[in-house]
């Protein structure tokens, strides 16, 4: 059985080598750019599967009224919207307040959320029935779930959120870890796209972390932002703006880190596969076909690296969220410390 699987995989790998060459031969006939790197990375208004494009609905909010169309084409055909430089504007000059259109990246965000929900509901159903709670966990799925969950709870939440306050945040941290992992790894599937290679998605995630952090901030957290105990009062003029800025730069860095990591991985894969096209263009088809073995092998290695980076970035996002939440909820014990110092002095006297 494994022999057959192995042979099928090897045959598919050879097909992978052949397929880009056919595409390269196609694209060299008409005068298009050799490879469209950014087109592979940006958001689209269609969902592509098995080389079939399924166009997604467009929804616009124009001055209080909701306009819903089946796809971009029907929105243009209705005469109310025009396409200018890739964005949709109203034909009669009214401004589009919010573009609620469903795009390919949004679809992958939903897939990630649905998978996370399904897995957690399935696991909670199993634990309610008693498997895992009273007995040992059964099966690969439940064991794997428990490994991830215990890792998030013990190594991230408990470690960085002090004073046993972590129980409130474990659910958020776990769901954000699972959702980001799925969103990152969807980019490795054929016709898939990693939704986290879009700044809007990561910014939304970072905004949620920002609100969770600020709403759970302790008195000491706000005291350290505005009052600075033990610092000369005039220093507040400099330090307060810096601290207030610091509140916003933390989630901003969180968003940009995840976005840039996923985007760079995607661009690198497209560029290295694109070297086949470029070599075909410069040295002719024979060298292009011959060198494609190297580029496909390199891409396979990059894919493994990208799978690792996808999990690592989900881990780092969760870890830093936990660190920021931990910094905000922490309660300092200045007075206890001072009184204990005073007590030891008394004893010495």
């Amino acid at each position: 059985m494994t022999q057959i699987v192995r042979r099928v995989v090897v045959a598919l790998l050879f097909l992978l080598v052949l397929n880009p060459n056919l595409l390269a031969a196609d694209s060299s006939e008409n005068n298009e750019p050799v490879i469209d790197v950014m087109g592979k990375v940006v958001d689209h208004d269609y969902f592509e599967i098995f080389n079939q494009k399924i166009y997604l609905p467009r929804i616009f909010l124009v001055e209080g009224g909701l306009h819903v169309y089946r796809n971009t084409q029907s929105a243009i055909e209705s005469g109310e919207f025009q396409m200018v430089d890739g964005t949709m504007i109203r034909a009669d000059g009214a401004t589009v307040s919010i573009d609620f259109s469903i795009t390919s990246h949004l679809l992958f965000v939903w897939f990630g959320m649905i998978l996370t929900l399904l897995i957690t509901f399935w696991a909670s159903f199993k634990y309610k029935k008693g498997a895992g709670a009273d007995t040992e966990p059964k099966g690969t799925g439940q064991n794997l779930f428990e490994v991830f969950f215990v890792f998030i709870r013990d190594d991230i939440a408990k470690e960085y959120i002090a004073d046993n306050k972590h129980t409130k945040f474990v659910s958020y941290l776990f769901s954000v870890f699972m959702a980001i992992s799925f969103m990152n790894l969807f980019g490795l599937l054929p016709w898939g796209a990693s939704a986290t290679a879009d700044l809007t998605v990561t910014a939304t995630l970072a905004t949620i972390t920002f609100f969770v952090t600020q709403f759970n901030g302790s008195k000491d957290h706000w005291e350290h932002v505005f009052m600075f105990p033990g610092v000369h009062p005039l220093m507040r003029i400099i330090l307060t703006p810096v601290e207030i800025l610091g509140l916003f730069t933390k989630p901003f860095a969180l968003a940009v880190r995840l976005f840039a990591n996923m985007l760079s991985g995607k661009i690198m894969i497209v560029c290295i596969l694109g070297l086949i096209f470029i070599f075909t263009e410069i040295f002719g088809p024979m060298i292009g076909v011959g060198s494609s073995i190297i580029w496909v092998a390199l891409t396979a290695a990059l894919y493994i690296l990208k799978a690792f980076i996808g999990l690592l970035q989900a881990y780092i996002f969760t870890l830093l969220s936990a660190v920021f939440i931990g910094m905000a909820v922490e309660e300092h014990h200045h007075h206890d410390h001072e009184s204990s110092v005073a007590m030891t002095k008394d004893v010495q006297i």
């Binding site: 950014m38 190594d155 860095a253 940009v256 880190r257 990591n261 760079s264 780092i316 870890l319 830093l320």
Partner: protein, 73 residues
């Protein structure tokens, strides 16, 4: 000219980030060699610090990408 600036920028970012992450890796390996039983904690701290450096480096990488692609905001 813009491409030149973007290229130089990317090179300088790489120097800075490589120095920073290299120093983290050096001291992490040294401290694991001194105290192998604390390797778990050291690894966590190492990844955390490396993530901070990476974040700063990627900020500037995005600035370079915006320069090279000539996107005006």
């Amino acid at each position: 000219m813009v491409y030149l600036a973007a290229g130089f920028g990317a090179g300088i970012i790489t120097i800075g980030a490589a120095l920073g992450i290299g120093m983290i890796g050096k001291s992490a390996v040294e401290s694991i060699a001194r105290q192998p039983e604390a390797s778990g904690d050291i690894r966590g701290a190492m990844i955390l610090t490396a993530a901070f450096i990476e974040g700063v480096a990627l900020f500037s990488a995005i600035v370079c990408a915006l320069l090279a692609l000539q996107i005006t905001v």
